[in-house]
């Protein structure tokens, strides 16, 4: 099937999902949540004030209109104003996204390179001490709560030893660097356990395939078998994994950012939770979903590019 056909069909499939998601968000935030005016204005608000606010927030319109509002906001990126800061949400999110990138992208690159390399090493020495210790270490690291890493890390390296900044952020390159190193390291530690185990499994699965036996029978050294033959076949799963992580990354930094006072997407979400800032949480949910869907699509397309079997069938 033609690549364009495939993309088109894939896009078509997105439509019912988008409708479903917007419906779900609508149900959660507009129906179940109920009328927030009382919370916002306090107990002593007059009926008139409440009605005004309701109108301003668009809550007095029909369910259908409110639902369409959600769809519209997903496409126009207009999310209204924050309840706590009264600022326009869209630009807030824009700036915050930029900040998150400075933290998340380097951490992502480091984690990916490290975990794939470690997984390759583990696969190369499969069954032996190196491999088994790596697995054990990964499992142990995965079992410690992220919260602990953050608290201990911050306390030990920033507070006690003073090697890094405790919290805060400075805009602009290279000013932000001292602020992102420690949180970045913690982000790497948080995910590396999972990643190594995942990549190791993927690579090992390939290792048991018949073509590997043929490659060895040709006389090729083990490292060549691993890096050329196995890796290329594992690429599909590896790439999928890499891409899928991207949207989750931005939010996984929720805790790290809030701790280290970094005003990224995670930071403002945390802030919103603490201040019951409803529209921000709603906006973040919509945006992260949109990106998740887009990235899923990109992954599927990349699949077809990397694996010739899919491309040419």
């Amino acid at each position: 099937m033609n690549l364009y056909n495939y993309i088109f069909r894939r896009l078509l499939y997105v439509i019912p999902i988008v409708m479903g998601v917007s419906l779900l968000i609508f149900v959660i935030f507009n129906v179940v949540a109920g009328d927030p005016t009382a919370i916002l204005l306090g107990k002593h608000a007059s009926l008139k004030q409440m009605a005004e606010l309701r109108h301003e927030l668009g809550l007095d319109r029909s369910w259908l209109m409110q639902y369409l509002d959600i769809l519209k906001s997903a496409f126009t990126f207009n999310f209204g104003r924050s309840w706590s800061t009264k600022q326009l949400i869209a630009p807030m999110i824009g700036t915050a996204a930029g900040v998150s990138f400075t933290l998340v992208i380097p951490a992502f690159i480091v984690t990916s390179i490290l975990s794939i390399s470690i997984a390759l090493i583990a696969a190369f020495y499969r069954g032996r001490l190196v491999d088994r210790s790596l697995v054990v270490v990964s499992v142990i690291m995965m079992s410690i709560s992220g919260l602990t890493y953050i608290l201990l890390g911050q306390w030990l390296f920033a507070y006690k030893l003073g090697w890094f900044e405790i919290a805060g952020y400075e805009y602009g390159f290279p000013h932000f660097i001292p602020y992102i190193v420690l949180p970045g390291i913690i982000l790497v530690i948080l995910s590396i356990g999972y990643e190594v185990r995942f990549y190791r499994t993927v690579i090992l699965d390939e290792m048991y395939q018949d073509y590997v036996r043929t490659a060895r029978a040709k006389g090729l050294p083990e490292w060549m078998v691993l890096f050329k033959h196995i890796l290329k076949n594992a690429m599909v799963s590896i790439i999928t994994n890499l891409i899928i992580q991207l949207p989750a990354l931005l939010l996984g930094t929720l805790l790290v950012e809030s701790f280290f006072g970094i005003p990224g997407l995670g930071g403002i979400t945390m802030h919103a939770i603490n201040n019951s800032d409803f529209p921000i949480i709603k906006a973040m949910t919509i945006i992260s979903t949109v990106f998740y869907i887009i990235f899923n699509l990109i992954t599927d397309v990349l699949y077809t590019l990397v694996d010739p079997r899919i491309r040419l069938s």
Binding site: I17, V21, I25, S143, S145
Partner: protein, 286 residues
Amino acid sequence: MTRAFTKSIWIQAFSRMAKSKLTITALVVVIGYSLIALLAHWGILANDWQLEIGNSYEAPNIHHWFGTDIFGRSVFAKIVKSTEVAMNVGFVVSIIAITIGVVLGAIGGYFGGVVDELIVWIYSTLAAIPNIMLLISLTFILGKGILAIYIALGMTNWVEICRLIRGEVIRQKDREYVQAATAIGASSFSKLALHILPNVMHIVIIQFSAIFQSAIKSEVILSYLGLGIQNGPSWGVMINDAKVELMQGAWWQLIFSTMAMFLIVLAFNILSDALRDALDPKLRGK
């Protein structure tokens, strides 16, 4: 042979698991935690966790093995009580998620057609929202308290097992033993319940362990964020307290709650791996 999974395969799998000391240890830990949780639930253990029994911020000593918190409460008692919360959440959420996932997955996989499309649409929709945002949104809206946690965690955990069960049911429904059952006039329901489902049980068992563990970890994070259980102790709340405590040099709440959580999560990790190695037909062939 009416099943792909005969009793002897189960026995073989479990006896193979039993050979590993590590797996047995993990199982013992899980059972131990469950016992502690039950005892706490019935009030036999740590019933008095709220009482002020010592001075503020006492370091671990003979009277208070894990020290005290800011209110002078026994950290040990709080940890025990939190175990109850954790095991409770893990268990209930697993049951909810597995029930929904298995029922929907089996129905969708078996009947196909519009019903299946609908079910796939439902879980694809849920899956399209990143888990953590969904969790936050749900708990935010549903308010604090344990019911909100059950619902939120239940909703975010059933999709994976639904997918797996659906896939497996689709694979199994054209197998000979199902055709044989049809030939003798078995109804759809009995085919599904009596013949196919036992052959997907291995997925359920593996997922039970995985979801239990994931629920515990999520609950800790939610409590930490202030979105979860607020009226009782929880490892998450204790870790949250530690934010301030560390600055004052009080490390014990953090360390002990982390260790308590670490042990049970590690135990479940080991169990899940062992179960997967023992029960996954693909791996068994190697």
